[in-house]
Assembly symmetry: C2
Homo-oligomer: 326 residues x 2
């Protein structure tokens, strides 16, 4: 049974929702250990004492170096020291990335670890990476993202031969910027992945592919745009619906349908973002995560450990690193 270290103080709704989520994951059979201050009421779960916390606004690298005993860094170190198989935090994303690089370190052959986010679509999840770890990328980084995303998709999302697409601004190989044009060429030649060509922005929510690769700037931009567009559109619809009595009645009647839509597009289903390319599995839950998102993130982390995702990434990556080095 996989053992997951959970940062009890990470996230906007910590520690209550984090503990509730950890209890739910524990009830599902995961061996959870919470990292937090002495005396924290864990509802009976094991507590490893970590007295300080890293705030959402702190500078990542500085905070990680200054607070080795913080709940987040201690939980990451637990994985590095072999005391846990995976780590989950809903805290500061940059700090998790910094802590992962510092304490877990990169797998041999990995040029750049990437943040992978399962984007809910009508046809199941599309794994988008990089979602923000590397704002500037080179074409060979995107090829590694494709390999890492394919391994994750197969092992954790159960997709047999994941189709990979490159996020660009046209389907033709010669459309895009310098990065995507060169990456397209490399992806076409890459072995061990099923490259299906470019995807455009409008294809993303449609579930164009199992894995969508892009640089961290574009990936982060895309996620925030989608998030913003969905929120804004539903708000606007609510405003217009409640502006008339007729609309209000209609609004009541469509409420279950609206709820199903929200549920279908709910990022909490997949619990968060996955840091791939490190010598240990690290999961960053959304800052606003509630218990369900936390529980799902912990369960997916445990499943990742059981499926030996890190070892499988290690197996698949070094071979393709010979061609070009950092």
């Amino acid at each position: 049974m996989a053992r997951v270290a959970v940062d009890a103080l990470g996230g906007d709704r910590a520690p209550d929702e984090v503990i509730a989520g950890a209890l739910e994951a524990s009830a599902r059979g995961v061996d959870v250990v919470l990292y937090g201050p002495e005396g924290l009421d864990t509802g009976g779960l094991e507590l490893a004492v970590a007295p300080t916390a890293i705030g959402m606004a702190e500078k990542p690298s500085e905070a990680v170096r200054a607070k080795p005993d913080s709940s987040m860094v201690a939980a990451v170190r637990a994985v590095a020291d072999g005391k846990a198989d995976a780590v989950v935090s809903a805290g500061n994303t940059g700090a998790m990335l910094a802590a992962g690089l510092l304490h877990l370190r990169r797998l041999p052959g990995v040029l750049r670890p990437a943040i992978a986010v399962p984007v809910p679509t009508r046809r199941g999840a599309s794994l988008l990476l990089d979602a923000g770890a590397n704002a500037d990328c080179r074409p060979e980084h995107l090829v590694q993202f494709a390999v890492m995303g394919s391994v994750f998709s197969t092992e954790l999302l159960g997709v047999a031969e994941p189709a990979v697409r490159l996020l660009s601004i046209g389907e033709e190989p010669e459309k895009g910027n310098q990065l995507t044009i060169e990456a397209h060429a490399l992806l076409t030649e890459a072995e061990g992945i099923r490259f299906a060509g470019n995807a455009e922005g409008r294809d993303l929510l449609r579930g164009a592919a199992d894995v969508v690769v892009t640089d961290g700037f574009t990936g982060n931009m895309a996620l925030k745009l989608l998030e913003g567009a969905i929120t804004e559109l539903l708000d606007l619809l609510r405003t217009e619906i409640t502006a008339t009595a007729r609309g209000k009645l209609g609004g009541l009647l469509i409420r279950p349908a609206a709820r199903r839509v929200r549920h279908e597009l709910d990022p909490d289903t997949y619990g968060g973002a996955y840091l791939l390319g490190l010598r240990g599995l690290a999961v960053i839950a959304h800052g606003s995560s509630g218990r369900r998102a936390i529980a799902n993130a912990i369960e997916l982390a445990a499943r990742g450990a059981e499926h030996r995702v890190v070892e499988r990434l290690a197996d698949r990556l070094p071979e393709r690193e010979h061609a070009r080095s950092v």
Copy 2:
């Protein structure tokens, strides 16, 4: 009264909807001349004969060079020759860009012409540029986009001192990729614009700024993502609503509200994309434009000519070109 050359054969719904839109713009007082084949029924509008057409899938530069007598190229040349004050086409975007560069040429001092698109938001239009003319940009290009966007926003959208934001993945100046970090520094120092800092993807539909600058890859990606997200979400909602009898009734009741939402976010309100930085005003209407979008595009083009937008761009640009050259 401004005279606008209109490509009668451009767009998915040409020539019927284009002619209908041209008639509507003419009724609003614009002097319209249609470019199309001999014998075309223009409903009484002036016809300038242009026997061939450029298709949506043709290679832009090749097509523009091979077909100087096409309806699109002839309409662009009318502006270059002083026979018209502005040109409108709903045809091949790349071909319009190529025709503009070849026949209108860049204004002195302009490094890169940009495509500016008014994005409908809850608080009026945000002008997004570059929306796809330049997939790879340098920081100084983004500064020029800010200046061109500000002039357009003031002269054509009536904003007195337009706020400019830089599209990035964090509000802090040091967040983003190399391009946005350098552009942020240049924009902070730039004179003659009101730079208000970075905007994130989620702010775009909220109407974060009057002008939003970005490279053409990111801008095009953002537009297509928004378009896709809105379509997909409304589709999904419709599917869920019509899945039950209760939902169907509710759907009928909220129909007027849904229509208001669609109207509020309808890109047709602004008619299209504006090619800024050329020695003549060129407007690219959406390929699927109906008569309303065409009429609005023609009217906005005429207004641009009357406000001497091109001359004002010329006045404002060269001064800031001295600092760095191509």
